[in-house]
């Protein structure tokens, strides 16, 4: 499958949005680990109405051509806004509960389409949650 959003250097493939500084922190960690933070657009939703969260995400999707939205909590207002956008945007994928392992897998999956990459990355993120100890 072709990479609709493009995978060249500097071309964002996904939007990351969450509570507080969560998105910026995660993406800065991606940058520190592999230097590919430019594949991701950071959005903070602090102090925004649900309507402005939704319109800001829509604007960023239009500007970047990204086809994936990563959010933190399933109960978050960013997730609610993203689900409204997914409803009327064919080909757009939402992944909630994002973690660092998910994002790292996603930015390295440049051969897959963004939506396929997001699905595979979500599986990797789930597998990264392990409990050690007795």
């Amino acid at each position: 499958m072709s990479d609709e959003a493009g995978s060249g250097p500097g071309q964002a493939r996904a939007i990351v949005v969450g509570h507080g500084e969560f998105a910026g922190g995660l993406v800065s960690a991606v940058g520190q680990i592999c230097g590919m933070a430019d594949k991701l657009v950071v959005l903070s939703m602090m102090g925004m109405t649900p309507e402005s969260i939704e319109s800001t995400i829509r604007e960023q999707l239009a500007q970047t051509g990204a086809h994936v939205i990563f959010t933190d909590l399933p109960a978050g207002s960013a997730t609610i806004a993203a689900r409204r956008i997914v409803k009327d945007t064919p080909g757009l994928v939402l992944v909630s509960g994002v973690n660092l392992a998910t994002l790292l897998d996603f930015v390295f999956s440049s051969d897959a389409s963004p939506t396929d990459a997001a699905r595979a990355a979500a599986e990797r993120g789930k597998a990264s949650l392990i409990v050690v100890g007795r």
Binding site: H19, T49, L73, A75, S77, R83, K87
Partner: protein
């Protein structure tokens, strides 16, 4: 157990509500009082997926919220009643006549609203409705999360705590 919190929050069901308040108050019953959401299966499904499994959610319009308030209050589980705007809570309080306090949790910037707190913006009409509630004996405070200070309405309206 009764209703532990009456909250106005324009984000409706989200992290601060189900986790921030829901966990420490051990909320088992969440009542979202919103005419628009109550009339739309899609909206109800959207917000239902944001509710953790240990919590039951009910979606009702304001008229039903007034009619069934005594049932929510008599439920054995701790309850949280939520509206998305001041006018819905105003109508609920006026209709129920047994609500002693209202929490302002998030009313964000929109045209015509002035900043009062980081998370509270109000139009003159909204200010007036809140003043009327307090004049009727309802304690109105702003508090986004349980660990924050509950800011009394006069202080909110002065914008002094910004």
């Amino acid at each position: 157990m009764g209703i532990h919190l009456y909250r106005i929050d324009d984000r409706l069901i989200h992290g601060q509500v189900v986790v921030g308040w829901g966990q420490p108050l051990n909320i088992g019953l969440l009542v979202l009082v919103d005419d628009l959401v109550a009339s739309s299966d899609w909206e109800k499904e959207l917000y239902r997926m944001a509710v953790p499994p240990e919590m039951e959610v009910r979606f009702v319009d304001v008229a039903t919220g007034i009619r069934d308030h005594a049932k929510y209050a008599a439920d054995p589980r701790p309850g949280l009643v939520l509206t998305g705007d001041i006018s819905s809570m105003y109508r609920l309080v006026k209709g129920v006549k047994a609500i002693g306090s209202v929490n302002l949790g998030g009313i964000h910037h929109r045209a015509g609203r002035a900043e009062k707190l980081r998370y509270i913006y109000l139009t003159p009409d909204e200010e007036q409705q809140l003043r009327e509630l307090e004049a009727a004996g309802v304690e109105v405070t702003a508090q986004d999360v349980p660990s924050a200070r509950a800011v009394p309405l006069p202080e909110v309206l002065q914008g002094a705590a910004r």
